[in-house]
């Protein structure tokens, strides 16, 4: 009998745990995803770009070290440094562009919220 009760409890617990994100999603996460879709995409892009930036920095350091150790000829070193450097600059520019866009959005949202607050105060007054 106890074994059967345990089995029922396990089955119910497992089902609930798996279904929980769906309940949360119906009133929260899914909605949040829809509402904050732009921010979520922005953060995702930013994360990828930051990761790529770190990777390129590491590559540049690696190339320099290989050159110092005599594993790369000067011409190869210069060519690789130019290529990775250009890629890193492009990534930095992209990060700046994203940040600017997001800061702009945030500033806009802040203004909207302040205006709404003031309107509320006026109406109450």
């Amino acid at each position: 009998m106890i074994e059967k009760l345990i089995i029922v409890a396990i089955a119910l617990g497992a089902g609930l745990f798996v279904a929980l994100p769906l309940f949360r999603g119906a009133g929260g996460e899914k909605e949040k995803d829809a509402g904050n879709g732009a921010q979520s995409a922005y953060l995702d892009d930013l994360r990828k770009l930051n990761s790529k930036k770190q990777h390129l920095y590491a590559e540049l350091k690696d190339i320099e070290f290989d050159f110092d150790m005599g594993k790369l000829s000067r011409s190869d070193y210069e060519e690789m440094e130019r290529r990775y450097g250009a890629e890193a600059i492009a990534v930095l520019k992209e990060i700046d562009r994203l940040e600017l866009r997001m800061t702009g959005d945030e500033a806009g949202a802040e203004i909207e919220s302040e205006v709404a607050k003031m309107r509320g105060q006026v109406e109450e007054g």
């Binding site: 059967k4 089995i7 396990i10 994100p21 930013l46 110092d68």
Partner: protein
């Protein structure tokens, strides 16, 4: 408890199916709640399979012989430790272990990626869940470890004596952690193919998983070799047994993969090759499990046999067909960003190394399946013995050692003459000097001279790498100790890799010496008589017999001298296990071993008679301990490589960053 185990398996099957479906729907509709639900499913499957495994361990411990598995693999006289390790002694139990380890990996993958929004992650969950579905189906519906007998016997049939060894208690677990762990990079590869995110992301995300699995697989192989050396009593550690080969093949291709991904990361090349390699590696993992678990090839390891073969073959065929279909469908996105500019470059050296690893895997595969093919075609198994495997693999192994030395020193893109002279002069001279000294000392075994010289060459390349690196940092104003410490800590992957190479050099030295210079001798002695083996003098002193609960033990006392120096008494044993049971093997030997850095004195009590005469098989195996030491060095190197560097920790922070920001509702950089 058995009922809880059974129901846990059924529930795990249903939830794995659900996770697969939810992740698929979530990925297609971009619904995060569905993906999160699939992720929760992976945690729940881990919990349920842990419960199932715990139920079986409980049944083994309390000797619940109403379960067929417990009655078949344990007995009343079995110690508690071996009752627990009986979890993987039989087929159903080891398949449960497979599924359980997979569930641990799946839950960990879900946990480490819980905040990532990469497109490929849901597809990784789908792949892991699909593999899980198959294995849980096998243990839930085909070969259940919780199957009950019609009656409850008073005692079980016992555990095979050969499995009652400390190494056999841990070797399968290591092997399975390695074996099953290779499902993770495969899942990431499939995730990339299914989602179309074909950049280097899947390789970066799965790199540490691959290295972890590879390390455990390698250590599992070494532990198995150690077990064979101590337990099987034939004096060797590797016999090209099909089951050894089954674990060795994926290790070969995984090693190739670990090297070739560096080319993709560095130069954007070999994308198709890497994808194919990880598919082949996973195929070999499944194939290895199939041949060891289906009983298709009988060997000393293949104790369990059953009828899961056709199901397993169908699954392997499905995996191959589906993976390569996806590969063909997406091959446009797997185009190389660079090209090979010279035959003499690091990328070319890595490609040669890959080709040789693959060729070795193919040769081992052909040798392993040859008996199956001949049996299918001619009705007679023709076994391919060690001579075939050695003839094919030894030359390839030597070329691999050479490449192990060349790879780290050669330039990317194109090696110049100056590069060659600057980087290779010291190691080449050191290797050549080693060969000259060995020849001068009288060594005439060609393979041994080449092997030792190549090992010297590789060691020198590693030393040169460390020395040059320290020198460069010293020029930047660091003192030598600080320079060395920063050199390795700032590039763990590279220098950890070199430590792994040193471990391999030790293993190769041990294998070469013990294969080329082994001394074997057999003698039948009366008490008090002596025999000489190499530099050792052995005197047979005494023979004792006693009985303990599980076995009759016969132990011989042998005094050993090296020159005038007494080295003490060694005691080889011969054991006869009591139960008659179903086992083919009820007799086993316990080798007496005296191991030093120079050689192993290995004594087997091969037989004895009632008059006290005893027959001994004695081997002097040079430098075998170097093989085990090499394993330890590899573990150190691999751990060092896996440990996140400061840069990787920063990247990890960048990865969790969105979630933190999201939680706080602000975005700051």
């Amino acid at each position: 408890m058995a009922e809880i185990g059974t129901v846990s398996l059924y529930l795990a099957f249903i939830i794995s199916l659900y996770s697969m479906t939810a992740a698929l729907l979530g990925a297609k509709s971009r619904r995060r709640d569905l993906i999160k639900s699939a992720e929760s499913g992976l945690y729940v499957v881990f919990f349920l399979l842990t419960l199932a495994a715990a139920s079986l361990v409980y049944a083994l411990l309390v000797r619940d012989y109403s379960l067929k598995y417990v009655a078949s693999n344990t007995s009343n006289d079995l110690s508690a430790t071996y009752r627990v390790t009986a979890l993987w002694a039989g087929q159903a139990g080891s398949l449960l272990l497979w599924a359980w380890i997979l569930s641990i990996y799946s839950a960990l993958v879900a946990w480490f990626n819980r905040d990532k929004r990469d497109e490929l992650i849901p597809y990784v969950y789908i792949t892991l869940s699909a593999i899980s579905v198959f294995f849980i189906f096998l243990i839930g519906f085909v070969e259940s470890p919780f199957e009950r007998l019609a009656f409850t016997p008073g005692d079980g049939r016992g555990l095979n004596p050969l499995l009652q060894n400390a190494y056999m208690a841990i070797h399968p677990v290591f092997l399975y952690i390695g074996f099953v762990g290779l499902s993770v990079p495969f899942a990431f590869g499939m995730g990339a193919l299914l989602s179309g995110s074909l950049g280097g992301g899947w390789i970066r995300s799965s790199r540490r998983w691959t290295l972890f699995a590879w390390t455990f697989l390698g250590l599992g192989l070494l532990l198995g070799a150690r077990w064979a050396y101590l337990e099987l009593g034939w004096g060797g550690y590797w016999a090209w047994d099909p089951v050894e080969n089954a674990a060795f093949m994926p290790w070969l291709t995984a090693t190739a993969f670990l090297h070739s991904v560096m080319i993709q990361e560095k130069r954007g090349m070999l994308k198709k090759w890497n994808m194919s390699l990880i598919i082949i590696t996973f195929f070999l993992v499944l194939f290895g499990t199939f041949i060891t678990r289906s009983g298709i090839i009988s060997s000393v390891h293949s104790f369990a046999q059953s009828d899961i073969g056709p199901l397993f073959l169908s699954f392997i065929a499905f995996v191959l067909l589906f993976s390569f279909s996806m590969f063909l469908l997406r091959q446009g996105g797997l185009k190389s960003e660079g090209r090979f500019e010279s035959f003499l470059s690091r990328e070319s050296a890595f490609l040669y190394n890959n080709l040789i690893f693959l060729a070795a895997a193919v040769s081992v595969f052909l040798g392993t399946i040859f008996p199956i093919v001949t049996e299918a075609l001619k009705g007679e198994k023709i076994l391919v013995g060690p001579p075939y495997f050695n003839r094919v693999n030894v030359p390839m192994g030597l070329v691999l050692i050479l490449l192990m030395g060349i790879g780290p020193l050669i330039s990317w893109r194109k090696a110049s003459r100056e590069n060659f002279i600057k980087n290779f002069s010291y190691p080449t001279v050191f290797g050549a000097l080693t060969a000259a000294v060995l020849l001068f000392l009288g060594m005439r075994e060609v393979y041994a001279v080449i092997s030792f010289s190549l090992c010297a060459f590789v060691t020198a390349t590693v030393a040169v790498e460390f020395w040059r690196g320290v020198r460069v940092r010293c020029r930047r104003g660091e003192n030598p100790l600080l320079a060395l410490s920063r050199l390795v800590s700032k590039n763990r992957r590279r220098y950890g890799g070199y430590i792994v190479h040193v471990g391999f050099v030790l293993i190769v030295i041990g294998i070469t010496a013990s294969s080329a210079f082994v001394i074997r001798k057999e003698s039948v002695l009366n008490k008090g008589e002596t025999m000489t083996v190499g530099k050792y003098l052995l005197r047979y002193d005494d023979l004792r017999q006693y009985t303990i609960e599980a076995k009759d033990v016969t132990v011989a006392s042998v005094s050993v001298w090296s020159g005038d120096k007494s080295l003490g008494v060694l005691r080889p044993e011969s054991n006869l296990f009591h139960y008659s049971g179903n086992r083919e093997i009820d007799k086993e030997t316990e080798v007496a071993l005296r191991s030093t850095i120079k050689d192993d004195l290995y004594i087997i009590l091969a037989g004895f008679d009632s008059g006290g005469r005893a027959s001994f098989r004695v081997l002097v195996n040079p430098m075998v301990s170097w093989i085990w030491a090499g394993g330890v060095v590899i573990l150190i190197g691999a751990t060092f490589t896996m440990w996140p560097s400061a840069l990787e920790r920063r990247q990890e922070q960048a990865v969790v960053y969105p979630a933190e920001v999201e939680g706080k509702g602000t975005a700051k950089t």
